[in-house]
């Protein structure tokens, strides 16, 4: 076994990495804070937010009112744009000084980049892409629930002897709370030394695209492989219902919808009240993303499609005539309006 950077006996507190961009905290950071607060109240741990970047005064002022006990701010010019190398270098210094017991990061591109690199430089374990977190009642260890094989298998993972216990959490799995502090949490500014050589990579351009966030949409109309050639109709149904469009991986690979609308294991976990799934076969990789829907409607021409096992209302028929008639019903009566 590789020697731990520090031992469980030396470790204390729960830390949450607060990801931010253009002055906005990432939704997953707020979701993790809610869960971390729940864990902290069980164990009596201090909850610390870790904010890294450059020129952080405004966002630190805002973050200090989140439901956390203290805010650690690491500011440095070489942290102005995210690079895994510089962020991991700085985070490692701070972690080794402060020795948290648990460190949570969002399973976003930046969060995963940082977590994977940092875990190795700290010689500790990382439970990636958790769909739930809890504390072991017997020994207080962090238990991360992860799914594998397209979401069909769930495993619980613990890190017994190495610290910090690191986990990344998928966006959308925890509900954020509105809990806020009236008085700002104490802000501790930590100085770190980052040599220029610790930032070998330069961000030379950034192209932002408007991304849909369908993780909290109330209503979804979802296109699967069987929706080939029917996209205008699917869009009409979504329009009539004031629903967002979602898509399976196949549909996204075909270019029928953007990657931001992909539902499932490698896409978004959604929480709609209503999901109308058109022409999806129902692979577990996809259905894990709609499990939490209140009502699932499935349309598919194949009576054997597994999607029907996961649906409340099932229509076994060709998409075209059914969806066309359904759009006509909603459009003539307008009952779909929110």
């Amino acid at each position: 076994m590789i020697d731990p950077a520090y031992t469980p006996a030396e470790a204390t507190g729960i830390w949450v990495f607060l990801e931010h961009d253009r002055g906005q905290l990432a939704p997953v950071s707020l979701e993790m804070l809610a869960k971390a607060r729940e864990l902290a109240s069980k164990s009596g741990a201090i909850l610390t937010g870790l904010l890294m970047g450059h020129e952080l005064d405004a966002i630190a002022g805002e973050a200090a009112h989140l439901d956390l006990d203290r805010l650690v701010v690491v500011a440095h010019p070489l942290l102005d744009a995210f690079t895994a190398e510089a962020y991991a270098h700085a985070a490692r210094e701070v972690i080794l000084r402060e020795r948290p017991d648990i460190l949570l990061l969002g399973a976003t591109p930046y969060g995963r980049d940082l977590a994977g690199r940092l875990a190795v430089t700290l010689r500790t374990g990382l439970t990636a892409d958790c769909t739930d977190l809890s504390l072991d009642a017997a020994n207080g260890l962090l238990l991360g629930e992860v799914s594998g094989f397209g979401g069909g298998i769930l495993a619980t993972i613990a890190c017994a002897n190495h610290r910090p216990q690191m986990a990344t959490v998928r966006p959308g799995v925890f509900a954020r709370t509105e809990a806020e502090r009236a008085a700002a949490a104490p802000i501790e500014r930590v100085e770190v030394d980052i040599p220029a050589s610790a930032r070998p990579v330069t961000v030379v351009a950034r192209h932002r695209q408007e991304r849909a966030d369908i993780s909290r949409a109330d209503r979804l109309v979802v296109a699967g492989a069987g929706a080939r050639g029917q996209l205008p109709l699917i869009e009409a149904l979504a329009g009539a219902l004031h629903a967002e469009i979602g898509a399976t991986r196949v549909a996204v690979d075909e270019g029928w919808a953007g990657r931001d609308r992909q539902i499932g294991q490698t896409g978004v976990i959604t929480h709609p009240k209503l999901a109308i799934v058109c022409g999806a076969s129902g692979a577990t990789q996809f259905t894990v993303g709609i499990d939490q829907a209140d009502l699932v409607v499935a349309l598919n021409s194949d009576p054997e499609a597994p999607i029907f096992e996961q649906a409340d209302l099932c229509v076994v028929d060709d998409l075209l005539p059914v969806v066309r008639a359904l759009v006509a019903e909603f459009e003539s009566r307008g009952e779909g309006a929110p």
Partner: protein, 278 residues
């Protein structure tokens, strides 16, 4: 970069995810009935490496960790145009988490030597953690660029420009070589293997197998023994969908649509999202 470009592609052989189940008695994964395949995103990494070789010359090595039955799949990947394959095969590697896996792959890359570019798929279809590429980069103290769509060399050929996907768009990174890349799934169309090349490979087998003894690593840092994390519980997602009503609405398409319309509007009303004006 000194001389020719040497790319190394990490390939993971995974069971086809839809064919894996959990043995409810033993709480272990039943992979016995699952066919194997090269992790699909790794094929995109291989295609990116082969395209770089087409454009800039040089050579492509393959690296995989797995049981001996992986070797024929490496030969198929060689037949697509790679030059040499290294298979890390030893019971001591088994049960590795991301720390031990990335350590083992990094040790092999160090031993292979003179690698300019390490390419991996963005994540594996079985574990889907995407943590191994940054882990390899950290062990080797190399820069990383994940979720890459495209790579281009600058004039000096000692840096690459990588376009990669991030949460709200794309960014272009200037990355000095050597470096570790992870390649976004579906970013290219992997080529077919060249069957003439496959025949040629049979005569002159370029698959080197290494065991733990071949790597300069403390055996205690390998496999399950070297993994800080451990699985404490395992289960199949059985609850999912089991509470669903699975009610089939039957009729002509118009009748089905009408039934759906009634049930959906009734549901929306009961869910506090009533009809127009509500």
């Amino acid at each position: 970069m000194n001389g020719e470009l040497h790319s190394l592609v990490c390939l993971k052989v995974v069971p086809k995810s839809e064919e894996v189940s959990v043995d409810r008695e033993s709480k272990t994964l039943d992979r016995g009935h699952a066919r194997s395949e090269i992790n699909p995103p790794d094929m995109n990494a291989l295609e990116m490496a082969l395209a770089l070789k087409d454009r800039h010359g040089g050579r492509v090595s393959l690296l995989s960790m797995g049981p001996p039955f992986v070797a024929p799949m490496l030969r198929a990947a060689l037949a697509m145009g790679a030059d040499h394959a290294y298979l890390l095969s030893d019971r001591a590697f088994g049960g590795a988490d991301t720390l031990a896996t990335s350590l083992t792959l990094a040790a092999a890359i160090r031993k292979i030597g003179d690698v300019d570019l390490v390419l991996c798929g963005e994540e594996s279809s079985d574990g889907a953690t995407a943590q191994v590429p940054p882990g390899i980069a950290a062990w080797l103290d190399l820069p990383q660029a994940t979720y890459a769509h495209s790579v281009a060399f600058d004039d000096t050929r000692d840096h690459i420009l990588v376009v990669r996907e991030v949460h709200d768009g794309e960014e272009t990174l200037d990355v000095p070589l050597p470096a570790v890349l992870s390649v976004k799934v579906s970013t290219n169309e992997p080529r077919f293997m060249d069957t003439a090349r496959l025949v040629c490979l049979r005569a002159n087998d370029p698959v080197t197998t290494w065991t733990a003894a071949d790597l300069d690593v403390d055996p205690g840092h390998l496999g399950g023994a070297g993994s800080p994390t451990s699985v404490t519980g395992l289960g199949e997602v059985a609850g999912a969908g089991s509470g669903r009503r699975r009610e089939v609405l039957k009729g002509t398409p118009e009748e089905e649509a009408h039934l759906l319309y009634e049930r959906i509007t009734e549901f929306l009303r009961s869910a506090g999202m009533p009809a127009r004006g509500g």
